[in-house]
Amino acid sequence: MAHLPCFLKPSRRRAGVNWLKYALKRLVLLVPVILSVTFILFVILSLAPGDVARMVLGQDATPEQIAELNHQMGLDRPLIIRYVNYMVDALKLDFGKSWTGNFDVLSEFSHRLPYTLLVSALALVFATGLGIPLGIASAIKQYSLLDYGSTFVVMLLFSMPAFWLGTMCQIFFCLTLRWLPVSGIASWKSFILPPIILGANTLASMIRMSRTSMLDVIKMDYIRTARAKGASNRDVIIHHSIRNSLIPVVTQIGISFAGTIGGAVVTENIFAIPGIGTMLINAVKSRDVPVVMGTVIFITIIVGIINLIVDLICAIVDPRIDLAS
């Protein structure tokens, strides 16, 4: 057994099988979540006031023309039948066409998702890349100018709403300095401000979480033991403290990433980024049920997968976590 490659060793194989089972279980559990969310959403949208056909055709359309369009959209059928038909089609990856736009829902979502993911990912990189080192440094140099400074930054970032911060940054960087474009996706410079705005709140969370977590860890007995044994400050921090302090931070990263996908609506609106956030908002306003339903299903799946990945990473970082149980 000692001659087997590590990944074929029984202990590793057992761990791998556990992970697979755990992942499959989590993915299967997504199904009732998707069904519940979509059903509630479908009912709300169907009961909300507004005649989509009349809105599409205009006020001067005849009742016959409106009835014909209602029939084409399936709006003359009972709610349950419509829902079931929709979900059956969704299983075949047919999410329908927008009622108030001229596009196929799945292809439009596929076209827009990369922009939202890019902005969200860059926001996360910004927040974690800056937030974690800053939080850790604040904890190590507690009560120093750096510590007080970062606390102030955290309070500031939590207090400033994204729509205000976004506009202020546009005025300074785009209008006054003219370094960056105000909006759009025309060049790489368009992807500097939006992730910063989107990630600002997450940055504050990262700084705070990292600082708190690090402070907890460096007060632990094993850290004192390591120092007593003669380990340098650098060794104590890098080899003993950081990994343990990152466990709650990794969880926070996962939650934040899911949050940035949802929170991208405001940022996409301000910077005119054609992502899924703006698509969803416009669809809700115009009662475009296929677009809302399709987008929500996709987002639910994405968030579910992200949470799963985060849990798996947590299991790697923290060996105490046993996925089998």
């Binding site: 009349r54 001067d60 359309a61 005849t62 009742p63 736009g101 546009q170 105000v182 909006s183 301000i270």
Partner: protein, 503 residues
């Protein structure tokens, strides 16, 4: 200290190229222009069963030409038709087509395309509103068509120049159908649609073979940006060249800024208040007249438009055909309003003004609220989203409703819109609606003073019954780079890019 200096140097090395590139971009020669709008045009074929809407006009008015052209001030001029005649009985229009006009796919426009456009357009969702009284289109020869009406209608040329009247290529449609035409529209207009990214932008390219001559601006980009602040900042820093419909207040601020000019003009829309006259306190004429007399239109105009709009005396815009300028409106009179209220059966119940949230009409409603409270009416404002607002309007579920009523035909005939039988449930209708609608139908066949007098009578009924309270003529605004010539506020909100050129 050393680390700090190095860090600052590194930051400077990153930021300097950004600044340099910005300067280079500003110096580039421009043969393109960018119009920024909130909204999303997506229906590029007006004859499709799904019709088309306001935002779609941004593209339609440039990709397609009509037989007649609607100018910015609401007048009509020859376009694809060099001339036309109207028969003595008012039932037949004969249009003489311009020869040698080509669609952007190279096909020549002939009478067959005109017949196709009118026949198909009349059957669509916009046909009833824009091709009023249309009966048939007959081809006389390759460049002459006759359009027959079921009964005369003086404003029919307005429909001819509308978005539904953009000439479409029959042969191309036979080949690609509605969906294909929508995806790749073909017209005789000054521009061709070359790129459409849903929710992001539309790109138009100049049609070098346009019958009026190639436009000066080669590429027009219509940027779709929902956030108004972003639009304003983009115009100021040069990302955009033209901004659609900035507020009047913003126009005032733009006028003080270097490099930006504005244009303001009357639109074909009228902002009015529709009062409930079929249920509850709305059935009481004295109550309605109390509301009518309590409204100070000047205050509303100052609050909403900085006083820039034209106050309306009647529910017809002055630019409409058939406008009765002899009718005097109802004056603002608090004493008279209180007297009417005292005579009415009002018992202090809430009176709700419905409007669309986040628009200038919400401001209108709030100013009205204050004015009605002043005379003793317990008034509330209910600002709702657009879909709910339309639903309430359709079901006549309101006490008062702030309405923006536009007229694509630019004609007094639109006064009958609120009284059209097919639009609303007959059980919740104005008591004299049938009479008003019948009179409006009669007005379509009249001409000259007779027509004006009839619309005057209708307008007077509306004032006497206080069914509607006309407030002000809508305004269209546009802000633009001062180096861009030819930008003008159009009464229907069109942007004729063929007039634009850089200094």
């Amino acid at each position: 200290m050393k680390k700090l200096v190095l860090a600052m140097l590194a930051l400077l090395m990153v930021l300097l190229p950004l600044a340099a590139q910005a300067t280079q971009e500003a110096a580039a020669v421009k043969d393109s222009a960018t119009l920024v709008v909130a909204g999303n045009p997506y229906r590029f074929f007006a004859l499709s069963p799904k019709g088309c809407g306001g935002d779609d006009n941004l593209v339609l008015s440039n990709v397609y030409d009509c037989l007649l052209c609607l100018e910015a001030d609401g007048t009509l001029s020859p376009a694809l038709a060099e001339s036309y005649e109207l028969s003595a009985d008012g039932l037949t229009y004969t249009f003489h087509l311009r020869k040698g006009v080509k669609f952007s796919n190279g096909a020549e426009m002939t009478a067959e395309d005109v017949k196709f456009t009118f026949d198909k357009g009349a059957k669509g969702p916009l046909g009833q509103a824009l091709f009023i009284n249309f009966d048939h289109c007959t081809i006389i020869d390759a460049y002459t068509v006759e359009i027959g009406l079921v009964s005369p209608f003086a404003a029919f040329p307005g429909g001819v120049s509308s978005r539904l009247g953009g000439m479409c290529c029959k042969a191309y449609w036979d080949h690609v159908g509605d969906e294909g035409y929508m995806a790749n529209p073909i017209g005789t207009g000054a521009y061709k649609l070359v790129e459409y990214v849903n929710g992001d932008h539309v790109k138009l390219e100049a049609n070098a073979d346009h019958w009026r001559g190639a436009p000066a601006i080669k590429t027009i980009t219509i940027a779709l940006v929902a956030d108004v602040n972003t639009q304003i900042l983009g115009l100021q820093n040069g990302d955009y060249d033209v901004m659609r419909n900035p507020s009047i207040e913003m126009c005032g601020r733009f006028d003080t800024m270097k490099g930006i000019k504005t244009s303001i003009g009357n639109s074909t829309a009228r902002v009015t208040v529709n009062l409930n006259a079929w249920s509850g306190i709305g059935k009481d004429l004295n109550f309605r007249k109390a509301v009518q007399a309590a409204i100070n239109k000047d205050d509303i105009n100052k609050a909403v438009n900085s006083g820039a709009a034209t106050i309306l005396k009647v529910d017809i815009c002055p630019m409409y055909g058939g406008y009765p300028d002899h009718i005097q409106g109802v004056a603002y009179d608090v004493a008279a309003a209180k007297a009417y209220l005292a005579k009415s059966s009002y018992n202090g119940e809430p009176f709700v003004i419905t409007c669309t949230a986040g628009t200038t009409y919400e401001t209108v409603a709030k100013v009205m609220q204050a004015q009605l409270i002043e005379i003793g009416i317990k008034c509330e404002v209910e600002a709702v989203d657009n879909m709910t607002y339309e639903e309430r309007g359709k079901k006549r579920n309101f006490d008062a409703r702030v309405v923006d009523e536009a007229s694509s035909l630019i004609d007094a005939d639109s006064i009958a819109t609120q009284f059209t039988p097919s639009r609303f449930d007959q059980s919740v209708w104005y008591p004299r609606a049938a009479e008003i609608y019948a009179m409006a139908q009669k007005g379509r066949a009249l001409q000259g003073k007779e027509r004006t007098d009839l619309y005057g009578t209708i307008a007077q009924i509306l004032l006497d019954e206080a069914y509607t309270i006309p407030l002000y003529n809508g305004i269209n605004t546009v802000a633009f780079n001062e180096n861009l010539n030819g930008v003008q506020a159009h009464c229907l909100g069109y942007y004729n890019f063929r007039f634009w050129s850089w200094k």
